[in-house]
C-alpha cells in the first residue's frame, strides 16, 4: 500500500511560467479530491466521441495535477485538451466525490490565457470582442443594427447569391442561414424598465429580468416574452438599465478578471433595483450568475453581496414552477389536422448541471394542453454549442451535433424546445443540416409558452 514513487521524467528542469502560474491558481485540495473512480466518463461528450482518457474529466484533472506535481510541462497538447472540453459540466452532478471540475477548468484556462502568445492579430480581436464589445450594451446594439441592416437590405441575399458564402466552410454558410433577425431595439427600448404583474394583481414578488447581451440583440422577442410571461404569472418585473453582459464567455475563455468586472456591475445594478429574484432565460448566463459568489469570493468589497445575488438567481422556468401563478397554456389548432402537437426538449447543460433546474422546463411543457412531450434520448447530453465552442472547435462540435440529431430525428417532434440561445442556434443548425426544416422547428421554451398562452 506504499506509494509508488513516480519519477518526474516528463518535466524539464527549467522553470515553465505557465506551470508556475497553474501552481498558483489551481486549488490543489480540490484537485486531490478526484479519486479517479471514472464515474464522470460516461457523461462526457468528448470522451464519448474519442474514447481517449485524456479527453475525459478524469484525464483532464490528471493532466492539471501532473503539471502542478511537476510531472509534465503544460505543452501544446495540454492546451488543446483543455480547449476541447465543452465545459458542459455534465461530469459534476455524477461525481460522487463532488469535485468542482468547472472551477478547476476555469482556473486552468485563465492561466493559459495569461501565458498565451496569440498571433499578432488575435489579441486585438479578443480585446475588441471581450473588452470593448460584450461589456458595452450600446455597442452590442450598434452591432445588432448593422447586422439588421445587412439582413434587411438584401446584402444578405446578395452575399448568399454571389456565392461568397461558398468560399467559407459549410458550417459558416449554414450558420448564416439560421441566424435570427437582429433587432435594433432591445427589451428596455420596447417595454421600458418596469412591467407590473398583469391584471393589477398584488405581485407575488418583484423580479429583476437579466436581459443578457447577445440575447437582447438576437433574441429580443424572447426577452419580451419572458417579461410578459413573468407578469402573467403574477410578478412585478424590473429590468435594470445599468446591467451588462454576465461574463460567461469571458470566464470560459480564460478572461476571469474581465468576468469579475462585469459581475460587480451586475451585482450593483440589481442591488440598486431592489429585487427579490434575478431571472435569467439563458442557461449559459444563469449558470455564471449563480456562481458569482464563487467568482467574487475573495473580493472583500463584493464577496457577500455576490453570494446574496447568486442565491436569488433563478431561470424563468424555475421561477414559474416554484413561485408563479402558472397561467393556462393550450396549443392552438395546428394545421395538420387533429393529431396532438409533439414537442421535445433539449436540455441546456448549464441549466441542468449548474443551475440544477431539474424538471422545471419539462413540467411546464407537460402543462400545455394539446401538446405531447416526447422525451429526447440523451437530452441531458451537450449539443456541442457550448458558448463559442462551435466556432473554435467546429469539428468536434459538429460530430456531437450529428450524433445528437440522430436522436432528435427519432422523436418525430414538431417542435424542439431549448432554454438557451446557444443551444437554440445549434439545434436550428442541426435541423438545417439534416434538411428537416419542413417538419421541425427549434424554439426557445419561453417563446413556445407565450405563443400558446390562453389569454
Amino acid at each position: 500500500m506504499s506509494e509508488t514513487s513516480i519519477k518526474p521524467k516528463l518535466a524539464s528542469t527549467s522553470v515553465n511560467p505557465l506551470a508556475e502560474r497553474l501552481k498558483l491558481t489551481l486549488n490543489y485540495d480540490e484537485l486531490s479530491n478526484c479519486i479517479r473512480c471514472g464515474f464522470c466518463q460516461p457523461s462526457c461528450p468528448t470522451f464519448k466521441e474519442t474514447g481517449i482518457e485524456a479527453a475525459s474529466p478524469r484525464g483532464r484533472l490528471a493532466l492539471m495535477k501532473a503539471v502542478v506535481d511537476d510531472l509534465m510541462v503544460p505543452d501544446e497538447a495540454f492546451r488543446e485538451q483543455m480547449d476541447l472540453c465543452l465545459g458542459c459540466r455534465a461530469c459534476e452532478p455524477v461525481c460522487p466525490a463532488d469535485v468542482k471540475y468547472g472551477q478547476l477548468l476555469e482556473q486552468t484556462r485563465d492561466a493559459i490565457e495569461k501565458h498565451t502568445e496569440h498571433r499578432w492579430w488575435v489579441k486585438p480581436i479578443r480585446n475588441a470582442v471581450f473588452k470593448q464589445l460584450f461589456p458595452n450594451q450600446k455597442r452590442m446594439r450598434l452591432l445588432g443594427s448593422a447586422l439588421r441592416i445587412y439582413q434587411r437590405f438584401g446584402i444578405q441575399g446578395l452575399v448568399q447569391k454571389s456565392g461568397f458564402m461558398k468560399l467559407l466552410p459549410d458550417t459558416m454558410s449554414q450558420m448564416e442561414r439560421i441566424l435570427p433577425e437582429a433587432s435594433a431595439k432591445g427589451v428596455i427600448e420596447q417595454l421600458g424598465t418596469y412591467v407590473p404583474a398583469s391584471g393589477g394583481r398584488k405581485p407575488i414578488a418583484t423580479v429583476g429580468m437579466f436581459r443578457g447581451c447577445i440575447m437582447d440583440v438576437l433574441f429580443t422577442e424572447t426577452n419580451i416574452n419572458t417579461v410578459k410571461l413573468l407578469s402573467e404569472a403574477g410578478f412585478d418585473v424590473v429590468i435594470p438599465e445599468a446591467q451588462n453582459c454576465c461574463g460567461a464567455l469571458h470566464a470560459h475563455s480564460g478572461e476571469l478578471d474581465q468576468a469579475r468586472e462585469l459581475a460587480k456591475k451586475n451585482v450593483d445594478a440589481f442591488r440598486t433595483a431592489g429585487v427579490d429574484y434575478i431571472i435569467s432565460n439563458a442557461g449559459g448566463c444563469g449558470a455564471l450568475l449563480v456562481e458569482y459568489g464563487h467568482l467574487l469570493h475573495d473580493d472583500p468589497e463584493y464577496a457577500e453581496a455576490a453570494l446574496n445575488f447568486a442565491e436569488n438567481v433563478k431561470d424563468v422556468s424555475q421561477m414559474l414552477m416554484e413561485k408563479g401563478n402558472i397561467p393556462q397554456f393550450a396549443v392552438k389548432e395546428n394545421g395538420s389536422g387533429h393529431e396532438r402537437v409533439a414537442v421535445t426538449y433539449q436540455d441546456s447543460c448549464h441549466l441542468r448541471n449548474v443551475m440544477k433546474a431539474g424538471n422545471a422546463p419539462r413540467d411546464l411543457m407537460n402543462r400545455i394542453e394539446g401538446a405531447r412531450l416526447v422525451e429526447l434520448q440523451g437530452a441531458d447530453r451537450c449539443c456541442g454549442s457550448a458558448g463559442i465552442y462551435n466556432l473554435v472547435q467546429p469539428q468536434m462540435s459538429m460530430d456531437i451535433l450529428d450524433h445528437k440529431m440522430e436522436h432528435v430525428k427519432q422523436t418525430q417532434a414538431h417542435y424542439l424546445l431549448t432554454s438557451n440561445p446557444g443551444c437554440l442556434l445549434q439545434m436550428k443548425l442541426g435541423i438545417e443540416r439534416e434538411q428537416m426544416s419542413e417538419q421541425m422547428k427549434a424554439v426557445h421554451i419561453v417563446d413556445f409558452l407565450y405563443e400558446n398562452l390562453v389569454k
Binding site: 500500500m1 506504499s2 506509494e3 509508488t4 513516480i6 519519477k7 521524467k9 516528463l10 485540495d29 486531490s32 479530491n33 479519486i35 479517479r36 473512480c37 471514472g38 464515474f39 466518463q41 460516461p42 474514447g51 482518457e53 485524456a54 484525464g59 490528471a62 493532466l63 501532473a66 510531472l71 509534465m72 510541462v73 505543452d75 497538447a77 495540454f78 485538451q81 461525481c95 460522487p96 466525490a97 463532488d98
Partner: protein, 471 residues
C-alpha cells in the same frame, strides 16, 4: 523508453494515431482508481483486432516489454498501473457485442464492451446477465473477466466466473487460443476458461468472450431493514441464510456510509440508524417472492430491527440500489483519499468481522466505514484518509494488515472481488501458502516465460511477514 524502431513497428501495426507516447497519453494512463499508486508507462496502444493484439504481444515478447491490458481503469488493486513501465494496451476500441444467441442463451462480445451497455442490450431481450459490479456504468466486460468481478447479486447468482463459458485469448507468444465455447458442459482437459477468469492480465490478453445468460426474473421486491445495533444487523444476515432463504441481494451499510450516501443521493435514508440491510428478492413466481420478503421481514424484526420498509415502487427500489452503488465514491467526500478493501469471510462470520473491523479502526485511530455484500460474506471496509498525512497512512496500512489477518483467521480471504494486483500481493502467501504461491508461479511461467504480462502483479517481490497480533 522504447527504442524508435519499436515505436515505428507499433505504429505500423495499429496505425499512426493509435500508438501514443506523448506526455499527455503517458500521464493519463499512469493511474487507475487505486489511491496512491501511479507510474508512467512508456507507451499506450489501442488495438482494433485480435491480429493487432497478437502482433503487439509478439513484438513485446521478443523485446521483453511489459504489457498491461486496460479496460476502463476502474481497478482498485493497482491492476492496470504500469508499475514496471512498458505499454498500456487499452481495449476500448474492441467493444463489439458480437451476438446474443437466444437459442443457446449465450452472448459473445469483445472485451472493451461497456458492462452497463451490455446489461441494457441483454435486458432488452428479456434476458439477464447477473454480474453487476458497482462500477458497471464505466467498467468493461474484459476488465470484469480479468478481475472476476462480483457485485450485488453474488450470493444468489454467483460472480463473473460462473458465467464465462468460452474465451479467445492471445498468449505472449502471439498464439491465439480458444477455450470452452457455447457449452454448458466441457471437460476436455484442464479448465483454461476458469483459469483465465480472474488472472488479472498476467497470463494472456482476452480478445473475445462467450457468457451464459439467464431468463430475466419477472418479479422483484426490495426492502430496507434498519438497526440501532450494528451487531443485530450483521446477525440477521446469517439468520436469513440459516432459514434457507437466498435473496438476490443482501447489502450491509453502516452509519458513516449511510450518512454520505444520503448526502449525495437525498432519498431519505434513516441517519439515526447504526446500520441498514438492503435486501432484494427476485424470481418468476410472485407468490414465492412475496413469501420470501415476508419471511425476511419477520426475521429482521426477530433479530432486533428497529424498522423494516418495503419499497413501494420500482423507482423507489432503483433509487435505493443506485444509492448503494454510489457508496464507495461517495465516501470520497469525507476525506481526499479513500482506500477500499474487500476482505471476505464465510457469511456466518459477518457479525464477528464487522466488530473486528471496528475494533481495529479504534485501535489504530483511523476512520473505517463498512458496507458491502454481506450476503456472500464480501465486506468493503473503506478507510477515509489523506495520502499527504504519512503518519496516518502508516496506521491505515497496519489496520488493513490486521483486517486481512482477521479475515483469514475466520476462514476468509484477502480479496473477494477486486483482485490481488499490487496492493495485496504481499499478503497473498497468507492466504494460499508457500506451496500455493510456487504452483501459481509455475502456471505463470508456462503461459508467460518472459514475464511480460502485467509484471509485478499478484506475486510480490517479498511476502509480508504474518504479524503476531497481541490479543
Amino acid at each position: 523508453m522504447l527504442a524508435e524502431s519499436i515505436r515505428q513497428q507499433l505504429r505500423q501495426i495499429v496505425g499512426e494515431a493509435w500508438f501514443k507516447d506523448d506526455p499527455e497519453a503517458l500521464v493519463t494512463h499512469s493511474y487507475d482508481a487505486t489511491p496512491m499508486v501511479q507510474n508512467l508507462p512508456d507507451g499506450v496502444i489501442y488495438p482494433h483486432t485480435r491480429e493487432h493484439v497478437s502482433e503487439i504481444l509478439k513484438l513485446a515478447n521478443e523485446h521483453r516489454i511489459p504489457i498491461v491490458g486496460r479496460g476502463a481503469g476502474s481497478n482498485l488493486c493497482g491492476g492496470t498501473v504500469a508499475t514496471e513501465g512498458g505499454i498500456i494496451m487499452v481495449m476500448n476500441r474492441m467493444n463489439k457485442l458480437i451476438e446474443i444467441d437466444q437459442e443457446n442463451l449465450t452472448a459473445t462480445f469483445q472485451p472493451g464492451l461497456n458492462t452497463k451497455e451490455f446489461h441494457l442490450a441483454v435486458e432488452a431481450l428479456g434476458l439477464f446477465y447477473p454480474p453487476d459490479p458497482s462500477s458497471m456504468v464505466i467498467s468493461t466486460l474484459g476488465g470484469n473477466i480479468m478481475e472476476c468481478a462480483g457485485g450485488l447479486r453474488g450470493l444468489k447468482y454467483g460472480t463473473t466466473k460462473d458465467y464465462v463459458i468460452g474465451l479467445e485469448a492471445v498468449l505472449p507468444s502471439g498464439e491465439i487460443i480458444r477455450t470452452g465455447g457455447k457449452l454448458y458442459k466441457d471437460v476436455a482437459g484442464y479448465d483454461l476458461t476458469k483459469l483465465l477468469v480472474g488472472s488479472e492480465g498476467t497470463l494472456a490478453i482476452i480478445t473475445e468472450a462467450t457468457v451464459k445468460l439467464l431468463p430475466a426474473p419477472k418479479y422483484k421486491k426490495t426492502m430496507l431493514a434498519m438497526y440501532k445495533d450494528i451487531y443485530a444487523a450483521a446477525k440477521t444476515v446469517s439468520a436469513i441464510i440459516g432459514h434457507q432463504i437466498i435473496p438476490a441481494t443482501l447489502e450491509f451499510i453502516d452509519n458513516p456510509t449511510l450518512r454520505v450516501v444520503e448526502a449525495f443521493n437525498k432519498i431519505g435514508l434513516p441517519l439515526d440508524m447504526e446500520a441498514v440491510l438492503l435486501i432484494e428478492q427476485d424470481g418468476n413466481d410472485m407468490v414465492q417472492v412475496e413469501r420470501d420478503i415476508e419471511a425476511m421481514t419477520r426475521i429482521c424484526h426477530e433479530q432486533g430491527a428497529a424498522d423494516v420498509k418495503i419499497a413501494s415502487s420500482a423507482e423507489e427500489a432503483t433509487k435505493l440500489m443506485m444509492a448503494r452503488r454510489s457508496a464507495l465514491s461517495t465516501l470520497a467526500r469525507i476525506r481526499p483519499t479513500t482506500i477500499l478493501e474487500d476482505a471476505t469471510v464465510p457469511r456466518s462470520k459477518i457479525a464477528d468481522m464487522v466488530i473486528e473491523i471496528n475494533k481495529i479502526a479504534k485501535k489504530y485511530n483511523v476512520q473505517i466505514c463498512t458496507f458491502g455484500h454481506a450476503g456472500d460474506g464480501n465486506l468493503h471496509p473503506t478507510c477515509t484518509t489523506d495520502a499527504r498525512d504519512k503518519d496516518e497512512i502508516h496506521r491505515v496500512e497496519q489496520a488493513f494488515e490486521e483486517i486481512f489477518d482477521a479475515a483469514i483467521r475466520m476462514g476468509g480471504t484477502i480479496t473477494g472481488e477486486h483482485g490481488v494486483g499490487m496492493m495485496k500481493a504481499p499478503y497473498l502467501e497468507w492466504k494460499v501458502g508457500e506451496a500455493g504461491i510456487e504452483l501459481m508461479k509455475g502456471i505463470k511461467r508456462a503461459f508467460d516465460p518472459n514475464n511480460i504480462m502485467n509484471p509485478g502483479k499478484i506475486f510480490a517481490k517479498e511476502s509480508r511477514k504474518r504479524l503476531v497480533v497481541q490479543r
